[in-house]
Symmetry: C2
Subunit: 303 residues, 2 copies
Amino acid sequence: MIPVKTVAVIGCGTVGASWAALFLAHGLDVQATDPSPEAEAYLRRFVVRATAQLAELGLTGTGKLSFSPKLADALQGADFVQENAPEKEALKQQLLADIDDLLPPDVIVAGSTSSLLRSRLVVRCRYPERHITAHPFNPPHLVPLVELVGADADVVERAAAFYRGIGRRPVILRREMAGHLANRLASAVWREAIYMVEQGVASVADIDAAMAYGPGLRWSIMGPHMTYHLGGGDGGIAHYLSHLGASQVRRWAALGTPVFDGDTQRQLVEGVAEEAGDSSVADLEAARDAALIALLKLRPQIR
Amino acid sequence: MIPVKTVAVIGCGTVGASWAALFLAHGLDVQATDPSPEAEAYLRRFVVRATAQLAELGLTGTGKLSFSPKLADALQGADFVQENAPEKEALKQQLLADIDDLLPPDVIVAGSTSSLLRSRLVVRCRYPERHITAHPFNPPHLVPLVELVGADADVVERAAAFYRGIGRRPVILRREMAGHLANRLASAVWREAIYMVEQGVASVADIDAAMAYGPGLRWSIMGPHMTYHLGGGDGGIAHYLSHLGASQVRRWAALGTPVFDGDTQRQLVEGVAEEAGDSSVADLEAARDAALIALLKLRPQIR
C-alpha cells in the first residue's frame, strides 16, 4: 500500500463529501476544495453525519479536514487525489491538466467519473499515466465497490492497494467501457423493470419488491455468474449451460426495451410516489443507509 | 387467510422439498408425493437440514410429514396444493387434470413453475380458476419472494394471504408473462454480465464482485425504481428522468447481447471455477444459505 497520509478531495458534492468522510474515518487527513460558495458548509454537514455512521462500523479515525476554494491549496503536499468534479468532459479535461501543473507526477490522481471515459479525460494531461478512474458506488463511504480503469498496471495496482487498505473492494477493468461494470448491470435491470411497468405486468412497487425479496437478496451475497453456477445443481454452471443455456438465449430474445415516452415516465413517477408513501427522499436515504450499515456489520459472514 | 392445516406437496425435488420444510416449520402438515423411487429419502434428508436452518430464524413448528408415491394419497384431505413437477408442459397438463379429478374444486392448486405459462398448463383442467402459478425463488424456504399469477382475483388474494401467513412476500402479476418478473430481471443482468465477459472487460469473478459489493448490496434493500428515485437527489425520480432519462436510453443502446458460443461458455465455466476455488457447489450453497439466514435475521431492519 502507498503510504498515504493526506488526500486531496477535488469537488465536494455528494460523492466528494462521502469520500472525504471515509478517508477521515480511516485517519487520513483530507484537503478539500470546491469553487462553489456553499460547498464547505455542505461538506462539513455531510461529514458529521457520515462520520457517525462510520463509527457504527468501528471506523473511528480522526483525520484532519481542511477546506479551501483554491485547487493549489488542496493539492499542496497531497499523497493521493480523489477528483469528483461535475460530469462534464471539457471541465474535467481542464481540471486534470491544471492538477498536472501543480502536483508532482508520481502522485496518483483518481477520478470518480461514472459516465465519462478515462482516455477522453486525460487528453490534455502531461502525465496521463498517473490518472485513473476510480468509480465508487453511492454512497461511497458505505458501499465497498470501487471500479478501477487505468493505462499503467503499476499505478492501478498501487491504487487498488490503497483502496483495499481503507476497506474498499476494488475491481480492475482490463479496458475502459462506458458505464464501467456495475452501472451497466444496473441499466440492464432498470430497462427490463421499466419494460414490465410499460407492459402493465405489475406495479412499480411490486417489481421493486420482486427484486428486493428475490434475486436482489441473493445478489448481495454473490454475483450473477455464481448464482447460475448454483442454479446448475451438483454439475454447476457447466451443467446449467448445457441444459438451460438455450432457454436463456430464448429468454434474452423476450426481454424488452421500453418506449420511454411521457406516459411511461408518468407511470414511473406515480408508481414510485405510491411505493414511497409518506417517506421523503431524505427519509428513504436514511433508511437505506441504516440497512447498509446493518448489512456491512455482517461481514465477513456475507463476504 | 385460508384455514390451511394440510398441504399436499406434489413433486419432491429441490423446490418441493424446500416448500415442504417451510410448511412444516410453520406447523402445517405436509402430504408429499413423487413417483421417483429416490424421492422420499431425498425429501427427508432435505427437510432435516432445512428445518435446522428455519429454527435459526425462530420457526420451530412441528407439522407432520407423510409421503406416498400415490398422488391420491397426498391429495386426501389437503387444504392447499403446491405442485412442483418437472418443467414439462404436457406432463403438468396431465398432472393438473388428474388433480382436478381427485380434489374438491374449492381447494387452491398452486404451481411452482418458473418458465411455463399458467394459461397453457390449465388447458385440460375442469376447474382452471382454482389453479394459480406461485413461483418461489431458490431456496424457497429462505427467499421470501413468491410470484403469483391467476385468472380469479379472489383465488389469487386468498393464496397471497396464505403465503403472507407463512412469512412470504407475494407479488401479484396483473397478467402472465414468460419468466414472470424476477427471472426476467435475472436474465437481463446475466445477459449483460456475460456480454462483459465476452468483451474481455473484466474477469467472471470481478464482474460478480462488482455486483455483490455494489448494486447487489443495495438491491437487497430496494428495487431498481426506488434506487433511481434516490439517484435523483431531493427531486427524486422525476428529477432523474428529466435530467438523466436521455442518458439512460443511450446507455441501453450500448448494452450488449453476447454471442453465446462454445468459446464464451468455456470462459464462463473457467471463470466460475477460478472464482469458486476449492469450494464445491454444496459448499457454496451452504455459505449462501448461512448468509441468507444472517440477512433474514436483520428483518425488519432491511424490510
